[in-house]
Amino acid sequence: MIPKIVLTSDHVDFLKKVSELSGQIVTKCDQCGTCSASCPMVDGMDITPSQMMRLVQLGRREVLESKAMWVCASCFACTVRCPRGSDLSKVAEALRQILLRQAIDHIDIKSIPEDEIERLPQIALVSGCRKFTG
């Protein structure tokens, strides 16, 4: 038996929100898995990029509890390879932003050890701040 998929209005709202923020038609994804296969960071993710897309399609806010979008390095490998032309990096960014805009930062730059911060180049800190802090 095929389980019935039920989308409540909350699910629809979340789907809409992610679609708007990312500018992507998330429902176009047909779950081929090319993104997951292309992702260099997938080993560190708890769910794969395609699973992330699926959860968004289903409007499941639980996706925000996953690590996947924080492990994403915005390398755009998925973007160039998606056969449906979806920009998954924008979807991941939308998920990050939903949390960051609630003032939930992923990292605290002040807690990076001093010797590490002295080692890191400007470019790493600036990009880290942009992606992980709101």
Partner: protein
């Protein structure tokens, strides 16, 4: 002649009384309406924001310091009538305008990192070590727009990312640490603390040292001037006055 002198002092007193003892309504011809924290007051048109607040009846304790634009205590934000722009200014250095809405910002909450300037490495990494928040700058330029000293604040924050101590020192030298930039920064950077650190680093490690002062400190320590001091200090006032007059006549001017 004696009577004239008294007269002079009385005239001086009379001429400055508005700034000395507070404004007297009967001397005022032009008035403006302003809003202090939302409450309307009519005040003389010729006053600074600070004088107007006092005229309205506030006795200042916070938000008032040197009253001359140096100390940064009287940070004020305001909007002019019909304007969407939020302006920053020092209350003691800005004239009230009709329709102005204002509030003073007495304090900028911001922790200052602790360091020992003598031990720090003169290297770009030290700036980000103490002020990693600088990496959050989005170059929106709000800091520059809010600076009452008209400094190019964003440029010196950017200089920090580039590790350019001299750029920060020169760009921030006239900073009065009023905190308006930090209060308004969307990236929550504390510009003035960073600049203070960078200026000291530049002063200590980045600029050349003066040799004369070094020599003179040594000479004094060796007691080079002791004999002459003893001689001069032993002179009578009349003798000293004589030397003084000669010295003044051979003075360097420009």
């Amino acid at each position: 002649m004696k009577e004239k002198k008294i007269n002079v002092m009385e005239r001086v007193r009379e001429a400055s009384k508005a700034v000395v003892t507070g404004v007297d309504d009967k001397d005022i011809e032009h008035w403006v309406d302003i809003h202090i924290m939302g409450k309307a007051y009519q005040v003389p048109a010729d006053l600074t924001i600070m004088q107007a607040i006092e005229y309205a009846g506030y006795r200042l304790m916070r938000s008032c310091g040197c009253r001359a634009g140096f100390c940064g205590a009287c940070s004020t934000i305001f909007r002019r009538k019909g304007e969407y722009k939020l302006q920053g200014a020092m209350a003691c250095q800005t004239r009230v305008e009709d329709g102005m809405m204002l509030v003073q910002i007495p304090f900028s909450p911001a922790e200052k990192p602790l360091y020992d300037i003598r031990e720090e490495k003169y290297d770009s990494s030290v700036l980000l070590k103490y002020f990693p928040d600088v990496a959050r700058c989005v170059s929106c330029n709000t800091c520059t727009k809010s600076c009452p000293q008209d400094l190019q604040v964003m440029d010196y924050v950017q200089a920090a990312l580039k590790g350019d101590f001299r750029g920060i020192a020169e760009g921030s030298f006239e900073c009065i640490q009023c905190g308006l930039c930090a209060i308004r920064c969307p990236a929550e950077i504390v510009q003035y603390h960073m600049a203070q650190f960078a200026r000291r680093m530049y002063g200590r490690h980045g600029s050349k040292r003066d040799k004369n002062v070094e020599n003179r400190v040594g000479e004094i320590k060796e007691g080079k001037f002791n004999e002459e001091f003893d001689r001069v200090m032993g002179l009578s006032v009349a003798e000293l006055r004589d030397i003084y007059t000669k010295q003044q006549n051979t003075r360097e001017v420009y």
